[in-house]
């Protein structure tokens, strides 16, 4: 135990530390600067020790050794520190949900089964306390997803900075979310009274699938009629929203857990000729070869989850990321949560402990999601021409103990203070 006399001294030191962390290393506002003397981890290529990164007008303008700072551009000395691209959480409810248990604070699930026209982006609350809490750990972008019964709506890729949701937009229609129908398993009945028997559950499932297929068929007919400019075609918001999905411009994020449903989902995406991304995928390891063959990326939920089956090995989900990557499947991590989004890098690290190569782990929270969401021209690595979404750390960002010193989005130095740090300071100093 700690000796008593040292407590006031420790307090002072800690308060000083907190204040120092709260102070940005650079002043906010100016989006042109030179980061000098750091270890740069571009992710897209090998690490560069003692290197500089030039940022001009919010974009990365150069990477190398001994870059000259153009006239008037600030120099930020980063000796001993590390430069990484900001991280991307590929599945959250950021801005849509504030307090999980309070309905009034949740705009995640709409009524109805077929809601492709719903847009998450317009319901993102830029003042959510979750945003500064999350970005303080180096996460600069997230995909925020509607949930709901089946076709839930459009998930948006957003920056964790902005006065309005328009400021935050990176890709407002990054994905169409489909919660693939499930056959309600008998096990789920423990949680419900008056549960339906299996035969009925199966019928319900088949009914849902039919509903879904018919909807896609109608949307296709609408698409054809629209292309043919058929006279008298009444505009339909639901079918309009489906057009970019049917054209393959917007991917269909299909959320499915079990092997059988993942296979059904793949068959469905094949049949409908849409671009599929698999979400969750707890049993994706059983389908890895098909996923590879069809080039379907997977947004994995937390690595540290219990196995699906009682008699699965205890580390079933710990080893899955490594198995998928070995099979050639592209993966990215999603927290599928809001309040634990800041722990995204630790999901990747846990997979490293169980065989995932470190480089792939880092990619799965940076470059891979940028590629999967079709924004690799703007985000995901430290490369010339990309936005300066950057985090500066004192070490490996996948380790809990590493501190994120500074975060930039589009070259703007962000305030890293948040509700948690404010309460910390307030109550640490309570007399």
């Amino acid at each position: 135990m700690r000796r008593l006399w040292s407590i006031p001294a420790r307090f002072f030191l800690e308060i000083a530390c907190v204040l120092m962390c709260a102070l940005p290393l650079v002043g906010a506002g100016d989006d042109s600067f030179l980061l000098r003397g750091a270890t740069v981890h571009p992710v897209s290529s090998d690490d560069i020790p003692n290197a500089d990164v030039l940022v001009r007008n919010g974009r990365i303008a150069g990477i190398g050794s001994h870059l000259a700072a153009p006239k008037g551009v600030r120099i930020i000395e980063l000796k001993g520190l590390h430069v990484y691209p900001g991280m991307i959480d590929s599945a959250t409810e950021m801005g849509l949900s504030e307090i999980g248990a309070v309905r009034e604070t949740s705009d995640v699930s709409e009524l109805g089964n077929l809601n492709p026209e719903l847009r998450a982006i317009i319901a993102v609350n830029p003042a959510s306390e979750h945003i500064p809490v999350t970005r303080a750990n180096g996460i600069t972008s997230v995909v925020t997803l509607p949930q709901g019964a089946m076709l839930a709506g459009q998930g948006a890729l957003i920056h964790l900075d902005g006065w309005t949701w328009e400021d935050m937009e990176v890709e407002p229609d990054a994905s169409m979310v489909l919660n693939f129908p499930i056959v309600e398993s008998p096990r789920l009945r423990f949680f419900r009274q008056n549960a339906t028997p299996y035969s009925e559950a199966k019928q319900n499932y088949e009914q849902r699938i039919r509903e879904l297929e018919e909807f896609f068929e109608s949307a296709r007919r609408y698409q054809k009629a629209r292309v043919a400019k058929e006279p008298g075609l009444a505009q339909d918001l639901k079918y309009e929203a489906m057009l970019p999905v049917l054209d393959g411009k917007v991917p269909l994020l299909i959320e499915a857990t079990r092997e059988k449903l993942i296979r059904e989902a793949i068959r469905f995406a094949d049949k409908e000729k849409v671009r599929m991304i698999l979400g969750h995928g707890e049993e994706a390891w059983k389908v890895k070869d098909e996923l590879k063959a069809k080039n379907i990326p997977v947004i994995l939920g937390p690595t540290l989850e219990l196995p699906v089956e009682e008699d699965d090995p205890y580390d079933r989900l710990f080893t899955q990321p490594a198995e998928l990557v070995k099979a050639g499947v592209k993966i990215a991590f999603g927290s599928f949560n809001t309040s634990s989004s800041r722990n995204l890098p630790y999901q990747a690290a846990a997979a490293v402990a169980f065989g995932l190569p470190y480089a792939d782990a880092l990619k799965s929270v940076t470059l891979n999601p940028a590629q999967i969401w079709g924004v690799a021209d703007k985000l995901g690595s430290i490369e010339e021409g990309k936005w300066a979404d950057i985090m500066i750390t004192d070490g490996d960002p996948l380790e809990t103990r590493t501190e994120v010193k500074q975060v930039f989005i589009k070259g703007k130095s962000l305030e890293l203070d948040n509700k948690h740090k404010q309460l910390y300071r307030k109550y640490l100093n309570r007399p």
Partner: protein, 464 residues
Amino acid sequence: MRLHWMILCLAAGSLLAVRPIPARAASTTLIRNATVLTVTKGTITHGSVLVRDGKIAEVGENITAPADAKVIDATGDYVIPGIIDCHSHIAAESINEGSTSVSSMVGIEDVINPEDVEIYRALAGGVTTANVLHGSANAIGGKCTVMKMRWGKSAKEMIFEGAMPGIKFALGENPKRQGSGPNPFGNTASLRYPATRMGVEDVIRDAFTQARNYEAAWREYREKVARGERAVPPARDLKLEPLVEVLEGKRFVHAHCYRQDEILMLLRVADEFGFKIRTLQHVLEGYKVAKEIAEHGAGASTFSDWWAYKVEAYDAIPYNAAIMVRKGVLVSLNSDSAELDRHLNTEAAKAMKYGGLDETEALALVTINPARQLAIDKRVGSIEPGKDADLTIYDKHPLSNYAKVLTVMVDGDVYFDRDRDIAERPAREARRKELLEKEAQEQKKKPRPDKEQDSKPQDQRRPQ
């Protein structure tokens, strides 16, 4: 038919579950050349731990293996005391007796399922001891049990012998939920007092008033008997007896709480009745009243960084553990989850990131501190000669996200070994297939179940 299937599944489950490791082969084991993080006596970089007859016999740099010793070469590995989870519900067949606001007559000890695979999974995450608690539906819940992860042993043998028994209390949103209409799990049972934090206090004060009267009635009876007077003994009350034990300091109170007002309320009620709150559980706003908690002498067992899942968790901060430590509270980190208990080591690392605890202080949150909270620290919680040989070996520093558990010992016996677990997988998988095929054959022989049977009422258990 369904019943038949379920029985077969259960049988299959117990057969398939990872085989318990048989009783100790050698009574002396030497763990050699590891980094030994004793938690209470510093760190030995090239250290050894000698285990004899279930106890730690020697810890040091140069220990020679006795002739009969089994040697575990742990070069490059890290040894810590087995992790202690101060808030768990694993192995409990039921958790909440939610029909009444005071359920002190029920206890977890009666519903331990020693074949719950979550015990093995906890072991595989380095946990050797857990405080298995009743749920939080009631202001005064049921009795709790401290358990060792002696996988393969009977329920009775898993109980931590000599550990002080406990009782669960609960404050705030959970106990008042049943007074506030249907709960999230669709239970539309009639409303139950209390519906407010005011009512929660009243339930506790009322119960302890009754307990005090009950205690007095017994005292009076005993005094009469002692004086040789004729006396009629009071009727035994199984609900009040555990509360009398609390008043007498023979049973620990583990109180689920979130907000600072309710924390302070409970401390004051306990002061009034002259007992101590042993641990405040969750205690997410503990950092706001750390001074009062320390003054009362309660321990605090919290989450590392959970927040915002309900209103009373909206002011939760990841600095909670560190602030309370700095203000003199005995703090532990718990899981309350069969998943989270598997990586409490890295949860501890978060208290370094948020609030700047050092390595030893962080590890103490999941080892010696919970041991002290449960008053089992003479037996477990650190690596010291004379203590139980409950040890966890990692391949990397346990505060690193890259560490994984290799071997776990309880009472000197290896109950988890990763290599062994992996080696046994093909045989287990083969056995599983065999059983499934057998079941399929059985199914073929028998007529298909009709709908009547299919819609039989299912297990009525509700989630907690």
